[in-house]
Amino acid sequence: MPEYKLPDVGEGLTEAEIVAWHVKVGDVVEINQIVVEIETAKSIVELPSPYAGEVTAILVEAGEMIPVGTPIIAIGEPAAATADAPVEIDLSNPAASGGGEGESLVGRNKADRGPVRRARKVASGAAAAHMQAQAAFEAGESPMVEADETPVPSTPATTAPAASVQVLAKPPVRKLAKDLGVDLRSLTPTGPNGTVSREDVESAAGGTSSEVAAPVARSYDTRPGERETREPIKGVRKMMGQAMVQSAFTVPHVTEWVTVDVTRTMELVERLRSRREFREVKISPLLVLSRAVMLAMRRTPEINSWWDEAAGEVVLKRYVNLGIAAATPRGLVVPNVKDAESMSLLELAQALNALTATAREGRTQPAEMAGGTFTITNVGPFGVDGGTPIINPGESAILCFGAVKKAPWVVDDEIVVRQVCTLALSFDHRHIDGEKGSRFLSDVAGMLEDPATALVF
């Protein structure tokens, strides 16, 4: 009965987890029909069946981690014999049938064949000399030969080739010995595995070279100009610096955060990607977050406002120019999507795509950065969970979107793996109190946890 053994689908992988079976006992499968999905240290891989026939046994359950070479499925004689039916597979496929020395090494469990070693003949003559040379390379506690074998003769071999390899030393050590005029054969090796070490050569040379090799006290280089690089503060970097100082030291910041299960948002993203009208745009969790922010602002409009110190007024804006903080080769820029609150999800996706593409090319125009009313900073792509972002000048709040990661999460009192991320909101505490900030943040988090709640807004 042919059994499909877990192959090494990468280079040197030793194990994999069965993620999901695509077939069950009784199913009739064809050659190269996908039967199972596995996850290795490198990737998720679908495995095609090497055999045609009826599935007679699933040998490993989904969720189990198993070593390469483990039989995972048994496939019986095909219901009706076809030209493709590999009835003589066991004869023509030693790799799949396992077994002993001499069969194909491809796809076999390395652990299965690891220590198999044939017994050696009684050592004699040239072979013995060769074996001694081999043994010289081995550490004493791990002999090349089996313990029950005739010991290798301890007398020096008489053949010339063996003698020439009796002195073991690395090439740089040999070079040193040659340079210093030291005969390697005259030394007592002290290095690992009986090799002549650099120290052996140096001490034999009378210590002259040790002096050379001794570490010289390093003098401290006091010329800062030689060891430092001075870059001018200008352009995007200068703008970023001024904006951050102005905001951080005039606006009293408060930061709150919440960690949220975004599994359903990620599922929504996948569903959107498969929709025809979204085919030409990049769909990301950032898009869903942006839309959720638009909706949550309806309930907490103060988030989208500005403390006008000079006029002594708080300016509540009925439009949202949604800023996206973008890392570019030239530094941080925050272009914004104008009137984002009035856009459909598709329009918002197109606008975000265009905005980030322009920013990455370094072609963002000043007008695209002016007039922002609220900012999202997306630190997820850097693998960061969150932070305490600084509000963009002229605005009252900024939302930091952390990395979406798989994490243990409690659902119905059970710990399960979910995709979670952290949202951190900094807001201007002069006019946005903790209640408003918290409500906005939890509204947004609620929509990411369950996108259906967007209908409430």
Binding site: L6, D8, N32, A95, V106, R118, A127, V281, R363, T364
Partner: protein, 389 residues
Amino acid sequence: MSTQSSGETPGFGPDLVEVFGPSQQDGGPELVQLLTPEGERVEHPDFSFDLGDDAILGFYRDMVLTRRIDTEATALQRHGELGIWAQLLGQEAAQIGAGRSLRPQDFVFPTYREHGVAWCKGVDPLDLLGLFRGVDQGSWDPADNNFGLYTIVIGAQTLHATGYAMGLQRDGVVGTGDPDRDAAVIAHFGDGASSQGDVNESFIFAASYNAPVVFFCQNNQWAISEPIERQTRIPLYQRALGFGFPGVRVDGNDVLATYAVTQAALQRARDGQGPTLVEAYTYRMGAHTTTDDPTRYRLSDDLERWKLKDPIARVKAYLRRNGVADDSFFADVQQEADDLGHRLREGCKALPDPQPLSMFDHVYSEMTEELVAQRDGFAAYLESFEGAH
């Protein structure tokens, strides 16, 4: 905020970032195309496809069988029968177009992904499987089919190709005017290899010596996980100009255009007019190798967009729409592909494991004394085991 630096710098021309703007999404206006993704023949001022529909039927068969070799080998790796496989999915037109434009006397220096060119040159696909199964280190004789061994070192073969081309010049088989005698060399490489020193040195030598070599770069947009826009700031074909020979960008998913452009470039070389860089603009629809997981670094949207430009689908559309082929033709090719798949599956498993002593056979063209001594020593070592013959 100042964005002056993103525009033009006086005296230094336009900002090069623009070359990867939206206008380049589909290869840009300089892309040579003779068959659209919808299967419509179109004209180009400089290049035309001069063969008849019979040739296009042949190209279709070549591409379908090449894709079958690729999918079958990928499956064999998943079965545990191959150590690794480098997929060509999506690059069939680039390889068949280039492979079919060769004359018997032309010589190919491939990468490890040139399964379609190997097919055109008559190398048995089972020989390719032997290399990836690890039972040999490339078993075909390059002299038999004028098809070099797969080169794993990235870009190294471009130097070999250039040297070989300079050898052709010294043999006097370039620019004689005899079509059966004049020969050229084609050096395959990818967009990632274009950053290698070897490739750039080859360009310089080929230009300096006017060597009869076509540098055929399949730009499949990804050097494993590194996207092309991080690899170069100008379209790759334009690099040739800096070395002093022409470069052209062809739609690598269009077998007719690839054939026409490569054929013209090879003829230039045979005529003694020197090297050409052909950038076949294509897309690696599969993984880099069976060990790679492209979903970790590229968007499925991109893959979906390129699926619409599938090299085989457009030829099939052309053949059907113009009544060149009927259902029986497509069924015959499909049957031939199935038979090939069966032969590869069975043949792969039957490939013999190598004899340990065979590793000494092809180190040098002739055995050296040292090598003989090593081989004999190893033979004695093998003999030292019980049960040895």
